[in-house]
Symmetry: C2
């Protein structure tokens, strides 16, 4: 199935908006086993007509986004109707939706907005619960007089309107048209602590032998999402292979990220965590508190960037700095144990390392980091990691490794060597 | 000038990579007064040939990125040569670069890589100091036999290779071809603490009256970048208008973000800052420590998510919680003053608020936040802000407002009401 995307939006071409819709749609379709064959971005205005016509000639499905709004530059609806020679008709259902939508906001529907209730004859309305402009679906039969064989979908541009419409209106139709669409499953295994190339080496040969499996890898914020798609039995067989090879590195099978998993695990156990961060500078605490409900499991955190702060607030003995240096197993252990004591939490994570670009030595180059974990029950862990490179990447990967250390304790695993 | 972008990259269509190159190029060209007229993304492989031909027929300049690597799917160089009927020749200069590049990494140049040294006759090499594949420039004259009038640039896909090549090789040529290219200036005023619509209302009318000014707004992480482009005199006149209207909200005129500005201001004064964060959960500390060199100005931070943490570590009196609640001016002041004492820093920022989605009351709805700033010299400030909406946006805008409060003190300004 050849699927093309056509986006209209001057802000995309000016670079004022990054095209995240396109990536999101690409992933959703990849999960159905469809690869987008082309993506075209044109400015707001009349050129959308040309772009839709070209895409419809080349493909089976055209997904058009943007240009359904009330302004003069929003011409997607009218352009498509003109291409297919369809008259416009006022749609009472859409008009009711618009009236209700504006009434809720103490406004009335003006003439510009009313245009959004005009629907080309033969097109189906796709409801838009999150905005004013409805989506429109033009069955391929409408293009037959032109020699086309493409289903055309007009979708709103804003992500919070577009995404649910793709999920609820577009994907069910695509599934119908795909030979295996109804029975197709997709599973994302979120893997952390192991690189993409190691994953490939460990399981790709075995996975390639699973009949009818579509396999993909997507690197996301220090994790690798392994995407398994196909029949239920293919997905099950493939998931067993991945779980067998490195099941202890699978953070979730439902796309939850590690901070969400940790907040859930701690909540279930009624336990608390604390953080003592040097080189990550608050990133671990910030990630944990990104999760709604984290106040049930996280109360105390320190950013002890200076050595005096490590001594004063966490009670790290001064002689450890002289004897071992701030970036050392001993300091990481003392920070974690100090944070555990000072917070009264059940678990305390610590990190001390060299984010760079300066501060490295031959013994401890930029990128070196020690991560500690102290818990009320169980011995203190300390692991060394090495993430050379850019500062933001160092902070991301270090915070990821620290969170994973806590996940492993909460799951009854041992640290990765 | 009609400029089209053509990207090749299956990972872009699968959604595994977000197309940030396109947005970056769009911004660079907008600064030159050029709006990209179309952007096309096609998979790796032979279809690139069709996409380049279509773009060259329609435009004056085609910027092609990706497909210059050593694998079988990298066909951009060969496809363009075929389109223009140009024979391939080994380029000694590129071969030397490749040999040296690999020697540095203890590798030798293999046959697949050697392909990158083949240059179509008549094309100019654009050096790639950050990778192996050189860029190639095809003057418009090479396409004349086909009836085209387009300059074609082939560029590498990885951002760290592409961006310097655009800046050093493409932009100088575009400037030459633009009537006002050589004298054209661009200035970005980064404005914080005031919304885009308020900016527009305050200055747009006056800015529209500046002859030859190209004006743009770009919203970036809670700031608005006001882009002024045109002749030196137009940019100067426009900048004076913006500075006159809200100069105290201009964070930088050189694209530096607020955390960089603050680290510089503190470094210049030899002063230190500390943080005491509740609802932002470490985001302020994390942003400050994103800046290289921040260890000279930041040593101590607290994430006091729980009220007991605010009492124990910052000395906030227990009765303040009973009398005023945790989200109150009094607690914000006490947190900032406590952090100042406990850290010995010159300035301490505090935040206490309701990030949501739960925890709001009619008096203090979700999104309410108090921000405090205590300094060794000067009275303690406390300001109330309201950022309803999503949790991540709340944390971003609150940390931004807190950093701006410190910036205003360091610049001798008063808090915004």
């Amino acid at each position: 199935m050849r699927v093309e995307l056509v986006n209209t939006g001057t802000e995309l071409l000016l670079g004022d908006t990054v095209n995240t819709n396109a990536a999101w749609i690409g992933q959703r379709l990849a999960a159905l086993g469809i690869q987008v064959t082309r993506q075209t971005i044109v400015p707001d205005g009349a050129v959308i007509r040309v772009a839709i016509a070209e895409a419809a000639q080349r493909s089976d499905v055209v997904l058009v986004s943007g240009g359904l709004g009330p302004t003069n530059d929003d011409l997607t609806r009218e352009s498509t109707a003109e291409l297919l020679s369809l008259p416009m008709e006022l749609n009472e259902g859409v008009m009711e939706h618009l009236t209700a939508y504006f009434a809720k906001r103490n406004k009335i529907v003006n003439d510009a907005t009313k245009r959004q209730a005009m629907v080309p004859k033969g097109a189906s309305v796709m409801p838009n619960p999150f905005g004013t402009a409805p989506g429109l679906y033009f069955p391929a039969s409408l293009g037959e007089p032109l020699g086309w064989n493409a289903h055309i979908f007009l979708l709103p541009g804003p992500p919070r309107e577009l995404k649910p419409m793709i999920e609820n209106e577009v994907e069910p139709r695509l599934r119908e048209w795909l030979p295996d669409g109804a029975s197709r499953r997709v599973l994302y295994l979120k893997v952390t602590g192991i690189g993409e190339s190691d994953i490939v080496e460990a399981v790709e040969k075995q996975l390639e032998a699973v009949p009818g499996l579509d396999l993909g890898y997507c690197i996301r914020k220090g994790d690798v999402d392994v995407r398994l798609a196909g029949s239920q039995s293919a997905v099950d067989a493939a998931a067993d292979i991945v779980r067998g090879a490195f099941g202890d590195c699978i953070v979730s099978e439902d796309r939850r990220i590690i901070e969400e998993v940790i907040v859930q695990l701690l909540t279930d156990r009624g336990e608390w965590m604390a953080t003592a961060e040097s080189c990550t500078g608050g990133t671990i605490a910030s990630r944990i508190t990104d999760v709604s409900g984290s106040s049930r499991v996280f109360g105390h955190g320190w950013v002890t960037y200076a050595n005096e702060a490590k001594q004063q607030h966490l009670g790290v003995p001064a002689e450890l700095f002289e004897k071992h240096g701030a970036v050392s197993e001993e300091v990481a252990r003392a920070m974690a144990e100090g944070a555990l004591r000072a917070s009264g939490a059940d678990h305390a994570l610590s990190v001390t390392g060299i984010a760079g670009p300066t501060g490295g030595t031959p013994d401890k180059p930029v990128g070196t980091v020690w991560i500690g974990l102290a818990s009320k029950a169980g011995e203190t862990w300390a692991v060394k990691r090495f993430y050379p490179g850019m500062r933001d990447r160092f902070k991301l990967l270090t915070s990821q490794a620290a969170l994973d250390l806590l996940r492993r304790r909460l799951c009854g695993l041992t640290p990765r060597s």
